[in-house]
């Protein structure tokens, strides 16, 4: 992946599994199809003549805008997944994400309080997992989704070992 302007120079990013796109697609489908169905109800009622209040243009516009937004998000998913990257440096872990709203985060190993590995149903069927790092700060929202299970386990062990070696108090 190409390096963006806010990334530290000379970092070789590791990418998450491309299969994570599937997980995101399922999440997208569940969220947006439900939302669209609910928002389309007024349109159906108006068309059936049960409801008088929302004028037809409004009843059409709202779900249409939602549909466009949902499709836009759908188109973005593969790029967003490609934009997730991480890099293990000697003393800290770098995590980046985002295309429009980019975020590059550095978590020192010595600051990690604990490491979570979470697996959802869709992820499990694809052999993926999500790694979460926790520091003493609630602001550290460091998540690495879509790691292959073996890589997730390796990373967890690696991070725990390095964290222990560089352990600092608060």
């Amino acid at each position: 992946m190409h390096t963006e302007a806010i990334d530290p120079p000379g970092v070789q990013w590791l990418r998450v599994s491309p299969k994570y796109v599937t997980v995101r697609l399922v999440e997208w489908a569940i969220g947006n199809v439900l939302m669209l169905a609910v928002l389309s109800l007024p349109l159906i009622f108006v068309l059936l003549g049960w409801w008088r209040w929302p004028p037809l243009w409004l009843a059409i516009t709202v779900p249409a805008v939602m549909l466009v937004l949902a499709l836009w998000r759908l188109v973005l998913i593969p790029r967003q997944v490609r934009a997730i990257g991480y890099a293990e440096r000697d003393d800290d872990l770098l995590i980046r994400r985002g295309i429009f709203f980019q975020r590059t985060m550095v978590v020192p190993y010595g600051r990690m309080q604990y490491v979570d590995v979470a697996v959802g149903p869709v992820e499990r069927s694809l052999g993926l997992c999500t790694l979460k790092l926790h520091t003493a700060s609630a602001g550290t929202n460091a998540q690495l989704p879509g790691l292959p299970s073996a890589e997730g386990a390796r990373l967890r062990e690696q991070l725990s070992a390095r964290g222990e070696a560089r352990l600092a108090g608060l």
Partner: protein
């Protein structure tokens, strides 16, 4: 569910009575003092009810009450008996012990809880005296560890002298000055040196000129205008509860900020304040995770500032108590601020700290094209001035050897300081607009509290450079310093002294030149 041991951490297989010698109980009167507080709360509610009835021109008492008086009395008596019984039981089963590097507290008689906390994990110790406890000469001791929730250990209530003694013991042991199994009696309170105090007149002035007052004046203006237009006089009556509430808020701030005194001792920074309820906080060295100096617009007339801190144990509780505890200075002049900064950061890591801090407090970047060399602060580049039309010359950062200074706010002057070794993690953020103007935000993550450090709209190249350097600096600073057992490293001979001569108290440090002490202490630290 088992009745035994619902504790988070239990004693490893230790039968309780065998170590009974070291176990203490809190003062027998303490449940009643707490109970009286509850009773006073009930009285307050009834009183307020009656007061509001009086205001509305009705009878003080509810007219339907008289027929039910005996039943009410009987019910009240039963409740009272149960409460008193519960008080006595809870007092009997609450015991504490400070030994072997731990403080242990056992509570509860149906659902027992045994809790132990490591002394060297202390983040802060508070001694609180609510009004009634103060009348009886009692005090509550709060021991904070880094879980950002409620206090890890609360001992309510102890006689004041005993509470102070216990605080000295805990701090001396946590600092690593005293080790070994001797009893608590021989550890003296660390000597302290008063650094500043806030005169009441300035406190009142600061309250009158605070943001709260601006809001109230604006609200009052709206009410007056509305009532003039609608010619509705009763609107003012509806305001009475609001006025009472505002008065209570002012009173609260005054009560909490009254007689504010800051002192330095080898145990750390001591803060004492309170008019009716008094509170004494001790923040051991290196426990302050981040610091913020703010100046509301109206305070600029008198050059006042206030300071807040993030301390891991205090958390972010929205209550007035929580906000008072994270207050390092309710109102002070610039010299006070600089003095407090020097206590929090004994080694500023820069040649001319006063100039740098002044630039951080009130400086503005140059209008010229080169943002890098005005007053040392690197401000938002000129190309992004449309993004921050007011703040672009003000938003800036400055990295010293030991801390990162972040300033922002053209009207609400703000200066945030994060010591390098306290940085948890960092993130660079850049949205589409920021990318268009070639700027990025750097967010530093710290423990929960009122301070959330963020460098606004720094130029991309400077932000990336800072991001990289800051990671390295934080790494170096962490290697240099550990915050636990803060005096053990500076006085390694102390345990031997204590062991050889148990009789004379081990004086941790002479009181003179406290700031100097702290500085040498940081420099002398061995690698962790």
């Amino acid at each position: 569910m088992s009745l035994e041991n619902s504790a988070t951490e239990s004693l490893p297989g230790k039968p309780e009575p065998s170590v009974d010698g070291g176990w203490n109980r809190v003062h027998p009167a303490s449940p009643f003092v707490r109970g009286w507080v509850a009773l006073a709360a009930v009285g307050f509610f009834f009183g307020r009810d009656a007061f509001e009835r009086m205001l509305q021109g009705r009878d003080v008492l509810d007219p339907n009450l008289s027929g039910r008086v005996p039943w009410l009395l009987a019910g009240g008596a039963v409740v009272l008996l149960l409460t008193v019984g519960g008080f006595i039981l809870s007092w009997y089963f609450t015991r504490y012990q400070v030994a072997e590097g731990y403080v242990r507290v056992n509570t509860g008689f149906l659902f027992k809880q045994q809790r132990q906390a490591r002394l060297d994990r202390v983040q802060a110790i508070d001694i609180v005296q609510p009004l009634l406890a103060r009348i009886f000469g009692l005090a509550e001791l709060k021991f904070e560890v880094a879980d950002a929730g409620e206090s890890a250990v609360r001992l309510a209530y102890l006689p004041l002298d005993q509470a102070k003694q216990l605080r000295a013991t805990i701090l001396a042991r946590a600092a690593g000055v005293v080790s070994g199994p001797e009893t608590a009696e021989e550890i003296p309170e660390a000597p302290e040196h008063v650094v500043l105090s806030v005169p009441p007149s300035r406190l009142i002035g600061s309250l009158l000129l605070s943001e709260q007052t601006i809001g109230i004046l604006a609200g009052a203006a709206v009410v007056v205008v509305v009532s003039v237009f609608t010619q509705n006089q009763t609107l003012f009556l509806a305001l009475i509860p609001g006025i009472l509430g505002i008065g209570a808020a002012y009173w609260n701030s005054f009560n909490k900020g009254y007689n504010f005194t800051a002192a330095i001792s080898p145990d750390g920074i001591r803060l004492r304040y309170g008019l009716l309820d008094t509170q004494a906080q001790t923040l051991p060295p290196g426990r302050i995770q981040a610091l913020m100096v703010t100046q509301p617009p109206l305070w600029r007339i008198f050059g006042w500032y206030r300071m807040h801190v993030n301390v891991a144990g205090y958390g972010v509780s929205g209550s007035t108590e929580g906000s008072a505890r994270t207050m390092l200075l309710p109102v002070g002049m610039k010299s006070d601020v600089l003095r407090m900064m020097s206590l929090v950061l004994p080694d500023p890591g820069v040649e001319d700290p006063e100039r740098v801090f002044t630039a951080g407090l009130e400086g503005l970047g140059p209008v010229g094209a080169d943002p890098a060399h005005g007053d040392g602060f690197i401000t938002t580049p000129r190309r992004a001035r449309l993004l921050a039309p007011l703040g672009w010359r003000r938003n800036g950062f400055f990295a010293t050897e030991t801390a990162l200074l972040i300033r922002s706010g053209r009207w609400w002057h703000t200066l945030v300081m994060v010591p390098h070794q306290r940085t948890q993690s960092m993130a660079l953020h850049q949205g589409p607009w920021a990318r268009r103007f070639g700027v990025a935000d750097l967010v530093l993550h710290t423990t929960a509290g009122p301070v959330s450090p963020r460098v606004f709209q720094a130029g991309v190249e400077q932000a990336v450079e800072l991001f990289d350097q800051q990671a390295a600096r934080a790494r170096e600073a962490r290697k240099r310093q550990t915050s636990e057992q803060w005096l053990a490293q500076v006085a390694p001979q102390a345990p031997e002294v204590a062991a050889a001569m148990p009789e004379p108290p081990t004086q941790p440090e002479p009181p003179a030149q406290p700031t100097q002490n702290q500085t040498s202490q940081q420099e002398d630290r061995h690698d962790g």
